[in-house]
Assembly symmetry: C2
Homo-oligomer: 204 residues x 2
DNA sequence: GCTGATCGATACGAAGTCGTACCGATACGC
DNA sequence: GCGTATCGGTACGACTTCGTATCGATCAGC
């Protein structure tokens, strides 16, 4: 156990002895995420990130060897669950709130998934980072909501519609912009849950 | 009316007096579609198309001014409906068959939509071509199936789940590869229709 | 047939990108 | 404090791509 204390500016990678603070590092990652969401993975340039964050490319390439590895790191940095704390005691209400949460908070993230859609085919590390950072947490959050519903006896554990709830939710989220040219806002998603998801589950 | 008869090799653009036959033109388009589906829009290169079809870039740039216009033309060339002829007399059965058809035939096309997802944000013409060529026909085919169901009185015209059927179908189609790492094959889609779509419509 | 435009092939300029190398200046570790 | 590694800045080489230009060969139209 080294004397590497905790009241200093919290350098990244204690073993690497980098001068970058975690806040600084997060600036890089935010820039990456923003660029990709706006212009796509291919349009993301290391020069661009360096310029917009006023760091040098040397720094980026010192910390992360290549562009895909850099992006993967940025993705991992935002691993978090947006609606894991939903627990109203009613499956129907949980799903309604989840729908709203997905619509509000996934606006940027689903753009990210869309933008990375083809890049991940070619880079295994990128694909795994994407799954860990965005896909799995969402998956797990919905699964947890459903699990509690089953536990309370609101639906049977082998209800045929159960395995499709997550796909339904994120499916319409991603398809509406293409089909109708409008983003899937919270209202739309809640109406969808009300009209299609709950009835399929035999609720409401 | 000129003597420009019809027993000749059918040149492209009668007014342009091009020497390219329609078959030759279609070869270009096929190469474009294949490249995009495999490697994405950004990875598609004019040089690549020229090389793989053994034509010269001069030819491509003579006929289509820029890369987006070229791609848009290629998209328009494959405007067609894959399952417009489904009409079993039963809404439930129509939807089951549509699900299978979507799974079989959309394998390539939905890859295309995915690959073009971000490119269309920046090019208006490309976006419109994509809509006309792929989105609208699919939309219309499902709408027609639903319309007949309403006509036969199998569902009411204002059934709340009605507006979401198309989005659901294409939603899970596009999301399953990301969520589960597996393509949405015909079996999967039919199970989904059976378990979620039909119950939501009050059928079956 | 003759004329002229289009074809395929190739070379080229301009622009942009990745990743490396070099450079003082600064801040850390001892 | 002093050495040293990392920082930001920039220049660079190799490469790729778009779109244009050039050039002989070939095919259409009259």
């Amino acid at each position: 156990m080294t004397s590497q204390a905790a009241d200093r500016p919290d350098p990244v990678g204690a073993s690497r002895r980098s001068k970058l603070t975690r806040e600084r590092e997060q600036e890089f990652f935010d820039a990456v995420i923003e660029q990709i969401g706006k212009y796509g993975y291919d349009a993301l340039t290391m020069d661009g990130v360096a310029a917009s964050t006023r760091c040098s490319k040397s720094t980026l390439y010192r910390q992360w060897r290549t562009k895909p590895q850099f992006v993967a790191a940025a993705l991992r940095s935002r691993r978090r669950v947006g609606f894991a704390d939903i627990d109203t005691g009613s499956l129907a209400e949980d799903l309604r709130q989840a729908a709203r949460a997905v619509g509000e908070w996934s606006g940027r993230d689903h753009r990210l998934v869309q933008a990375l859609g083809h890049a991940v085919v070619e880079d295994r590390e990128l694909a795994q980072a994407l799954r860990e950072a965005l896909i799995e947490p969402e998956n797990a959050a919905i699964a947890e909501i459903l699990r509690r519903g089953v536990e309370r006896g609101e639906v049977t554990a082998d209800h045929p519609a159960l395995p499709y709830v997550t796909a339904q939710l994120f499916g319409v989220l991603r398809v509406r912009p293409i089909m109708e040219g409008r983003d899937a806002d919270p209202d739309y998603l809640q109406r969808f849950v009300e009209a299609a998801v709950l009835p399929a589950l035999g609720l409401d």
